[in-house]
């Protein structure tokens, strides 16, 4: 196959998929951009608070080393330092590039502004009110549109991933399902997964979209793709239950001065400030969520002290959203909050070039395990999605020029769409319950074993591929949590409350000969200078 005839298949058209598509298209490489729904519907549009980069515009002498150190520390030293170095060094360039694409980041008197975010002492988060993801997406969608018009990027919106087409340990293409025409399609060529977090495994309990069902991740796992750090999922400390999901109250609320309190003996106790001092409200998310989980009282987010100007210029959208869905005016009344599942640090394991264990398969964005270690800092995942998409694209281009060699497809014809059948809805509901019970904010051996037993009772030979793959992935998640006998970042074990240095390793989990195998991989040492 020569390079001109090859098309790269990107699965997912959120920030990671768009960034990958744009990078490939700029190099003249043809791309198929496949997504369940149009880009405008992707979870990336929901991102609120901002994107991190050392722009050093706030007169605080910010430095890339600090962004690197905060990210490593926030991730409890579980992220790959080489990758974090690349990410933090690229960040300012990415923000400038987004400005060049027309993202209206907030400015005052013509000067770019940055805000405080959790786990970072300096103001490093660039933002567009409380709709940063939407502003980034609108600009990237326009940028990619140009290449669509030129025929370099072909959109396959309303298409769902079915499975990879495999040739031994290499990927020859991908099978997708046209949801509108109800047709199956086989696409040849390398595959970049950018399908977002696995929300559907915890359906109804996350802040993200219902459309990221997790089925794609599950099928990949069942096809032998290696995953990393599945036990690490982030509970965001300030979410509220609304119909069908958890509504996020962005960390920007605390970045701009919001304070957490609980009521004890009739008095307000600003428990985070009491324990961690002035910056207590902006401790990393794992720390704040754990503190809340240990309280018996209800917790409130107090934004009543924020100035009129902040509400108007920086958080107008947050305020109207809270007013609309909770019938509370946050400028006048504290909002009751509780931790909710928000981000998956674990996912498809990639190296610094965003390669997976299968040749010609790459992954980027929230579906990939990269950059965030045991706990992601707010503002780093928009960055990770854009940077990851770019890096994956560069790797694809490099490997294309080296020549991929011929591949054949031996995946057979039996695969059908990733739907689960009617009867299986009940099984799915029970799987979600088991996962929620096992993977709560605070875990123990007993609850994890119980959840695994519940899963065993759901397994049956006649299940659809999608359902059995999801049960398998659910089992892998629980096993990863069971095997990590320590507490670190977002993984808290009541029975192993301490961090154990022998566990400062990446959890690798994959299906081998029909069995789930877990191994631990050393983390590459810190790059010096």
């Amino acid at each position: 196959m020569n390079r001109e005839s090859i098309q790269i298949n990107i699965i997912g058209a959120g920030l990671a998929g768009l960034s990958c598509a744009m990078t490939l298209a700029r190099a003249g490489q043809r791309v198929r951009l496949v997504s369940f729904q149009h880009s405008e519907r992707a979870q990336s549009n929901l991102a609120e608070g901002g994107i991190n980069a050392v722009m050093n515009v706030m007169g605080e002498d910010d430095r890339i080393e600090y962004h690197f150190a905060d990210t490593m520390k926030g991730g409890c030293d579980l992220a790959d330092p080489v990758m974090v170095k690349g990410l933090t060094e690229a960040a300012p360039g990415i923000v400038r590039e987004m400005i060049a694409l027309g993202v209206p980041f907030h400015r005052e008197n013509g000067k770019l502004m940055q805000r405080n975010f959790g786990g970072q002492k300096l103001k490093r988060t660039t933002y567009a009110r409380s709709s940063t993801g939407k502003a980034l997406m609108s600009a990237l969608i326009s940028a990619v549109r140009k290449y669509e018009a030129e025929g370099i990027v072909t959109r396959y919106s309303h298409h769902e991933f079915i499975c990879l087409l495999l040739d031994g340990d290499a990927v020859s293409g991908v099978r997708i399902w046209d949801r509108f025409r109800k047709e199956r399609l086989d696409l040849e060529g390398p595959v970049v997964m950018a399908c977002g977090g696995m929300n559907g495994m915890f359906a109804g309990a996350t802040t993200g979209t219902t459309a990221n069902t997790g089925v794609a991740a599950a099928v990949l796992f069942s096809q032998g793709v290696c995953f990393g750090n599945l036990e690490f999922m982030q509970y965001h400390p300030t979410t509220v239950s609304i119909a069908g999901k958890r509504l996020l109250i962005s960390e920007a609320a605390r970045g701009e001065g919001g304070r957490l309190f609980c009521k004890r003996d009739g008095k307000k106790r600003y428990f985070m400030e009491e324990k961690y001092g002035e910056r207590g409200n902006l401790m990393p998310r794992d720390v704040v969520s754990r503190e809340i989980a240990q309280l018996s009282e209800s917790v409130y987010l107090d934004m009543t002290g924020l100035s009129q100007q902040i509400w108007q210029e920086r958080l107008s959208d947050l305020r109207s959203e809270v007013q609309h869905y909770l019938r509370i005016d946050p400028a006048k009344e504290p909002v009751p909050v509780a931790p909710g599942i928000h981000y998956f640090m674990g996912g498809i394991l990639v190296d610094a070039s965003h390669r997976t264990n299968l040749r010609r398969l790459y992954a980027a964005g929230e579906c990939a395990c990269a950059y965030h270690g045991a706990n992601r800092l707010g503002g780093n995942s928009l960055l990770g999605a854009i940077y990851g998409g770019k890096t994956a694209a560069c790797t694809v281009l490099r490997e294309l020029s080296e020549g991929f060699g011929p591949v054949k497809n031996d995946s057979g014809k039996e695969d059908m769409p990733a739907f689960i059948s009617r009867e299986e809805m009940r099984i799915h509901d029970r799987m979600v319950d088991a996962l929620l019970n096992g993977m709560g904010l605070i875990r123990t051996r007993e609850t994890l074993v119980q959840a695994l037993e519940e899963l065993s009772s759901l397994e049956k030979p006649e299940l659809s591929r999608a359902m059995s793959a999801q049960l398998l992935l659910a089992r892998a998640i629980l096993l990863c949590a069971l095997e990590r006998r320590e507490s670190r970042g977002a993984h808290t074990r009541r029975d192993y409350p301490d961090t154990d240095e022998t566990f400062r390793k990446t959890t690798k989990v994959m299906l081998e000969k029909g069995r789930i195998q877990i191994t631990y991989e050393e983390i590459t040492p810190y790059p010096t200078a």
Binding site: R107, S138, G244
Partner: protein
Amino acid sequence: MKKSLHILRRENAKSSPYWEDFLYETQEENDTVATALRAIAGAAQKEGDRRPVAWESSCLQKRCGACAMVINGKPALACDTFLKEIPGEKITLEPLRKFPVVEDLVVDRSIMMENLKALSVWLNEDAQLHSEEMAFEASVCLQCGLCLEVCPNFAPGGSFGGMAAMNPLAHLIANSPREGRKAVAKSYRRGVFNGCGKSLACRNICPAGIRIEGLLVKSNAAAVWGRWGQIGKGSR
């Protein structure tokens, strides 16, 4: 609270439409039409008696535009319509009428994206921000299509892209460097100005809260009357 959802259904684009009723009972006072649809779609799947109701959703917090449909005769987002605010027990749900139906409440809105492509809605040069306010407001458009549903002048296949095209163009206008202005203005006149009958039927429909009139006035001033200096005025 008890509601009866009266849904216009259709198995596929070619089959004939029919009405079907679903009962939804809830104790939750803040449930929306989206919650009810999720429940009845799930229930139909579990009972296995009826074909599950097909509809689109994603964010459930009016940030993605997926769940646009016609609710009791009015175009709206399902996740933005609270059950308690609908008088009476019966709620009629129909797919948007301006777009081809795929199944039940699912329509194909690709024409909106095709229109933007045909109008060359992208920046060819680096952006030069004239008005953060305008660029921000224009960039929050969900591409949900509600404004097109109520527009007397929009028809799929025509050259008028409606307010759904105005917003991405206004985003470019707010960001256009001098070299790019001519091309943007041309697209704007072709895709928006020439077709807009100023009925402003779309004025109060936008779920993203975009103040369409204000953006139109600014975009017209720049792209039609050449008063580019005006866009930065009156805003931060």
